[in-house]
Amino acid sequence: MMRRFAPARLAALLLAVLTVSCAPRGEITIGFVASLSGMDYMLGTEGRDAAFLFVDRLNEEGGIGGRKLRLELRDLASDDSRAPDAVRDLKAAGAAAILGFFSSSSALQALPVLEETGIPAVSPTSTSAELSGKDDPFFRTIMTSARDPAVLARRMRESRHSRVLFLAAAYNRPYYETYRSGLVPEVALVDTVLYNRLEEIDYGRLEALARDPGFDAVMIVASSLDSGTIAQNLVRQGIRKPLYLSGWAGNEDVITYGGKAVEGAVLVHQVDLDRASTYPLSVLYKKTFGVSPGYGALETWDSLIFLTEGLKAARGDPGKLRSTLRGIRSFEGTLGTIRMDEFGDAFRPLYLKRIIGGRFVVLGRAD
């Protein structure tokens, strides 16, 4: 019987040879969620560029257990309400984990869906205290910014800046609330000015506030672009007060956009960019994109290091990833050891910085 159909089998084989195509070997999909457009695009795009560099290099070295990583991007377009759908979409796409979210507000929006889907998420830059101490699938390799306002408040007291004008981006409420609630017990907030768009800020009113009741300093909780622009506008309005900035504004863009207006501004930050200049990925980043990586890139790499360690421990099994991530108590990040607690929150050094001569100067450890 078999011999009779040997020619037919041969023909079928020949046919198959002409049309067969190889299926790709199994990859590990990592979702990447950030705002890549809109007003809040800067951290997201920097993080995306850094993530691609990291994944490309990891794949060149063989991936994890012979399996390559693939990034699946979702753009929040500076609209936090898109976060839950982004998570569901990535779950459907087979993502084993999510690298994101780059703002606390978007992270908080996504949290219920993360619980629902069980996908672990590792955030490089979400620092709101509202995300701390929770047994959930959310991890972050950046420390909560809950300590930042205390450090700044101490600095304000030392500088005799007891009355402070508080300016913040309203769309990142959890983040600015961390700062505001931390400052309130320590200094007097003359006024809290919130904005959704920069043109909403009434600088005339701020000028009036500067006269009456007056304030000693200005605390701006906004992105680096916004912080720089606001600083320029304050100067243009004649309001030349010492500036205190949030960690959110801690990259070169605040100097580019703020110019001399941000000279002398003080901030607290968890990344010492000068130390990071020799990190191999930093060198590659500069060679590829022509600019040095900001803290968004460095912290993205920290998150990816943490995530890949978890994947290695789980031997590529997504079902075990959450437990392996939770089991990591410390790991070597880009600038040193980062400790992790049982809730997936990080502990890392904190630096007090000041903008002097158009560059960030580390004044010392703040922790």
């Binding site: 020619p7 023909a11 002409l18 490309d56 377009a77 920069l198 506008n233 590829t288």
Partner: protein, 677 residues
Amino acid sequence: MRERFRVTSFLGTLFSVIVLSSLSIMGVSLERFVRADLTRHAEESNGLLAASVAHEISAFLDLHFMGLSLLRSRDFRPKGVDLLHEAYPAFDTVLFTDSSGRVSRASMGSGDAGFDFSFREYFRIPFETGADFVSRPFVSGIRYTPSAVLAHPIPDGVAIGYIDLGFLGDFLSSLPSSQNRSISVVDDRGAFVAHNSNLPLSGREDIAGLEPWFRERDIQAGSGSTLVTRREGSEELLSWASTSGPSGWTVIVSEPSARVFASLLAFRISLVLVLVAYAVLSLPLILGSVRLVRRDLAALARFSQDIAEGRTEAVLTFKGFRDFSLLASNLVRMGRAIGERETRLRENERRLLETLDFMPVPVILLARDQRMELMNRAFSSVFGWAREDIDTAEKWWSSVYPDPRYREEVRTFWQEYIDRLGRGERTEAPFRGRLRCKDGSCRSVVGQAALIAEGFVVTYVDMTESEQAAERTAASLREKEILLKEIHHRVKNNLQVVTSLLSLQASGDPEQVRLFSDSINRIQVMAGIHELLYRSRDLAHIDLAEYGETIVHWLASTYSVGSSAPELELRMDRIELDIDKAVPCGLIMNEILTNTLKYAFPPDHPAPRIRVRAARDTEGFVVLELSDNGTGLPPDFDPERSSTLGFLLIRSLCQQIRGSWSLDRSGGTGWTIRFPV
């Protein structure tokens, strides 16, 4: 039957597979050509599009830089920013800074007036380099829309224009060619400037700066094409072209290779269908053809087997393919020809055997294994054996060579003999032997063997009677020899009697003794010859050396008295002379030596010496030299004219033996007699 079916199926399938494989290879090769052609066409088309867009963008930017350059005029500056803002819709904002980087004036609606731009690269770089500058794409601080900045250095500052890149995106998406293609503009690091799908800036998953092809492209070339595989596995054909001027932007036109090679799918499907159709339609035809061919081949094979096995009369009836029919008819003719040649061959063989059989010389034909194949009549007649008597090798050896030792000897010789013949060495010389006849008698033979085909032909010549005749002749010769010896002996004795009678007659008379002594000597010389002949084995020749020595010693002993005997130096080669030459030669020697002994040496001669030499010269003549160191002949003595008996005899005897003589009178006397043998 089942075996035949399997073989037919196998051959048919094999043939089909070979043809299908060939067609497939052809199809694959053709597909490559088509693919290459499609690629080239797409590259040309997309490359042209990219170059056109790059040119348009370059012109656009040049135009706007030209506009900013108007701000070089101080008079124009106060209202210039607003005028430019109105005249160039693409400018979202126009402003200029002073040398410190502070914005001196900005167009209406701009929030940057009075701002410090000193840290911004679009102030710093053009101000420091004096060259136009195009910034990287960014989100403007006011509208959060993707923008880029054109900066043109002016005296004491920089003129800056913000370009809303959505405008560029609109332009790209308005291009007709953009429907099925992705057209993007990226800066020198691969960051997106604009895209025809008008997605927001930085919303693209792929960043050109991360792509190896982008980093490795030849910027100097200004344009190029490449096929890339995206991270998600899709393949795209990318064509790029760089803008001119300070922007450093690159226009990238990408088209999915699935679309570029869409027609290839149809080609592949067609190819597969053709192959399937071929397989379905041709396989039965091929199987049938193979079956027919094999049937014909089987018939031809059977017929050729009949021929090979000698059945040349076999008949082949054939109704197959034309070429096979030709082959069949050729095989039939070949079979007939082989049959005819076989018949002729057998006839020739029969004639050969009959020839051998009727030859008057005893002949046997042996196979390689020494089996008797033929024993002709002459052999039977001479030796009495018939083939049946000694048809095997063992019977031959035991019957014909009954003596075991002699048989073994012959066997060894015969084996070596035929081995040499078998190696192709030259025909051996005849061999001699003795064969036993059937009647028990033995006959002497001379035989010779030759290697022919796969056997040996051996001819014999019966030498028995010849040997017997030779024996008889030898016996007769021996009788005659004895008789001749006796004659010589009696002649010698008679001559001795004559010399004795002469001696008796001369006794008592010294003068008569002197007169007879020479004659007696001469007779002795002749008697000496007959003595030598009597003793010689060759009754017709004597050895000159032996004869000469005898004469010399005898004369020396006769004529030498006491201590005056001359020294004799004899050097005579062994030269055989017949009696006709030996006698005269001996007499010559006698005459010369007698003369020498008698007259050459006075009693006070210090060291008399006689030298005798005999040898052949290069012409074969015998040269006899007799010399002495005596007083020599008298000066007036002419041996040519001397009438003494001795010299007369010398001259006469030389003539008799057709020889010549010469005389050397220096230092004694030296005779040289030269004569032919």
